[in-house]
C-alpha cells in the first residue's frame, strides 16, 4: 500500500526518498517554489516553498515526505511569508522589469504576480553590480541575481564544468565565474550547456535573441505560474550530485 501524508487536508501519496515538494508536484498539487528544479539536487535556500509540517515551518523541497505528516501550504500565513521572501529578493537586487529582456519569462516576476506582490515594501538596496559582457554568446547581468544556485548546480551536476559559483557570505554573497580573470569569456561555457538555460531571472542571457518573442506573448504573459508549474512535473532527479570541481567553493 502506498504511504501518504496530508497536504492541506488531502492525502498525497509519495515514493520513498521523495521530498514533500516532489510528492506534491507529482500528485498535481502546486506549492510555490523558486530555487527548486526537478533535475537538480534540492538546495533549500530561497525558502519560497516553505510549508508548515506538523506545526513547524520547513522548506518543502528538502523535507522528506513521511507517512502521516500534516502539511499546511495554501494558507494565509504561508503565503504571507512567501510574499515577504519575494519582496526581499526584489529589494535586494536591481530588478527593473520594464527594461529587462527576461520580463514575462521570469520566475521571480511570475511568483510575485501570482502571490499578489504589489511592492517590494522594503528599502531598495540599489547595489552596484557591473555586468560581464565579455563572452561573445552570453551576457551576465548580475543585477538580477537571486543566488538560487541553479546555474551553479547545472554547471556542476550536468555540464561537469563548474563555470559558476557563489562567493562571500551574508550580504556580500554573490555569483562569481570560475576563471582566473573572473570573466565569462575565459571559461569553456557553451551554448549547449544546461547552466545557460536554467536562470530563473535575467542574469544569464543569450546574445542576439533578446526580444525574438515580444513582451505580451511570453510564458507567464499567458497563464500564471501556479497553473504552469505542474507542466514541468513530475520529473525525478537524475543528477548524480557528485562533482569534484565543486570542492572548496562556497
Amino acid at each position: 500500500m502506498t504511504e501518504t501524508f496530508q497536504l492541506d487536508g488531502e492525502d498525497v501519496p509519495f515514493a520513498p526518498g521523495q521530498s514533500v515538494l516532489q510528492a506534491a508536484l507529482s500528485a498535481g498539487r502546486y506549492i510555490p517554489h523558486l530555487c527548486y528544479h526537478p533535475e537538480f539536487k534540492p538546495h533549500g535556500s530561497c525558502k519560497v516553498c516553505t510549508v508548515k509540517a506538523n506545526g513547524r515551518t520547513a522548506a518543502s523541497c528538502t523535507l522528506p515526505a513521511q507517512a502521516g505528516l500534516n502539511v499546511e501550504s495554501e494558507t494565509g500565513e504561508m503565503n504571507d511569508l512567501r510574499r515577504t521572501l519575494v519582496q526581499m529578493l526584489f529589494a535586494e537586487g536591481n530588478h527593473f522589469c520594464p527594461s529587462c529582456e527576461k520580463s514575462g519569462n521570469c520566475t521571480l516576476q511570475a511568483l510575485g504576480s501570482d502571490l499578489g506582490v504589489m511592492t517590494a515594501g522594503f528599502r531598495h538596496f540599489y547595489p552596484d553590480r557591473p555586468v560581464d559582457a565579455s563572452h561573445p554568446d552570453f551576457l551576465l547581468d548580475f543585477n538580477r541575481c537571486i543566488l538560487c544556485e541553479l546555474c551553479v548546480r547545472a554547471s556542476c551536476e550536468v555540464d561537469n564544468k563548474c563555470v559558476f559559483a557563489l562567493s562571500g557570505r551574508g550580504l556580500t554573497k554573490h555569483l562569481i565565474v570560475n576563471a582566473a580573470s573572473g570573466k565569462l569569456a575565459d571559461t569553456d561555457v557553451a551554448l549547449t550547456d544546461k547552466a545557460v538555460s536554467v536562470c530563473p531571472v535575467g542574469v544569464i542571457l543569450k546574445k542576439r535573441v533578446g526580444f525574438a518573442v515580444p513582451i505580451g506573448q511570453r510564458r507567464y504573459d499567458q497563464r500564471p505560474i501556479s497553473e504552469q508549474a505542474l507542466d514541468d512535473a513530475p520529473r525525478p532527479s537524475t543528477a548524480s550530485g557528485a562533482c569534484a570541481a565543486c570542492e572548496g567553493t562556497s
Partner: protein, 179 residues
C-alpha cells in the same frame, strides 16, 4: 452616490506614461467622471492640491520639488496611491542610484560632446536633484501600490472601481505586471 470623490493626480520623476494609461480606459472615463472630480492634476492644470479623497502619484522622487509635491499630496489625500514602476520602485530614473550624482551631471552636461556649451545647469529656479532616486514609500506612507510600466488601463480601472465602490482593491495575477 450623492457626492463625487475628489481625486488629485501628479507626475513626479515619471514620464506621464501612467497618466496616458489612465486616459487609456477610454469610454470608461465617462463612467469614472460620474463618480469623481479632479482636483490638482495635469488634466485640470490646478497647481495645488486641496483636501482630496484619493491621490494618484506617478513617478519616483529625484529632486527636492518631487518631495515637496509628494508631501502636499500626503497631507491632503485620504488615500495615497503609488502608480507605476517609478513610484513603486524608483524605476528607470533609479538606475542612476549606483552612480555618483556628480559623475552623472558631469557626463551628461560636460563630457558628452553633443551638449558642447551646456555646462551643469545652475539656475536657482531649478529644484536640486536628490543624491539618490527614491520610491514614494521611502518618504511618506503609501496606502496602495499599482506596479507596471505603466499599469494597464484595465488594472487602473479595476483598482479605481474597487476603491470607489468601497471595496479593498483586489487584482489577479493577470493585472499585476511589473513591466
Amino acid at each position: 452616490m450623492s457626492k463625487k470623490l475628489k481625486v488629485a493626480t501628479t507626475s513626479l520623476a515619471g514620464c506621464f506614461g501612467c497618466h496616458m494609461s489612465l486616459l487609456d480606459i477610454d469610454e470608461r472615463l465617462f463612467d469614472l467622471l460620474e463618480l469623481i472630480e479632479f482636483d490638482r492634476s495635469p488634466l485640470t492644470d490646478i497647481k495645488h492640491c486641496g483636501p482630496c479623497d484619493v491621490g494618484l502619484v506617478e513617478g519616483g522622487l529625484c529632486n527636492a520639488e518631487n518631495v515637496h509635491v509628494l508631501r502636499e499630496f500626503r497631507k491632503n489625500c485620504k488615500i495615497l496611491v503609488a502608480v507605476g514602476a517609478c513610484a513603486v520602485t524608483g524605476g528607470l530614473p533609479a538606475q542612476r542610484n549606483h552612480l555618483s550624482l556628480a559623475d552623472c551631471l558631469q557626463e551628461v552636461y560636460v563630457t558628452e560632446i553633443s551638449l558642447e556649451h551646456g555646462g551643469i545647469p545652475n539656475d536657482p529656479e531649478l529644484p536640486l536633484p536628490l543624491d539618490k532616486v527614491h520610491p514614494l514609500h521611502e518618504v511618506v506612507k503609501v496606502d496602495y501600490f499599482l506596479p507596471g510600466c505603466p499599469p494597464s488601463a484595465d488594472t487602473i480601472w479595476k483598482f479605481l472601481t474597487d476603491l470607489l465602490a468601497g471595496r479593498t482593491p483586489s487584482l489577479g495575477p493577470e493585472l499585476i505586471r511589473y513591466d
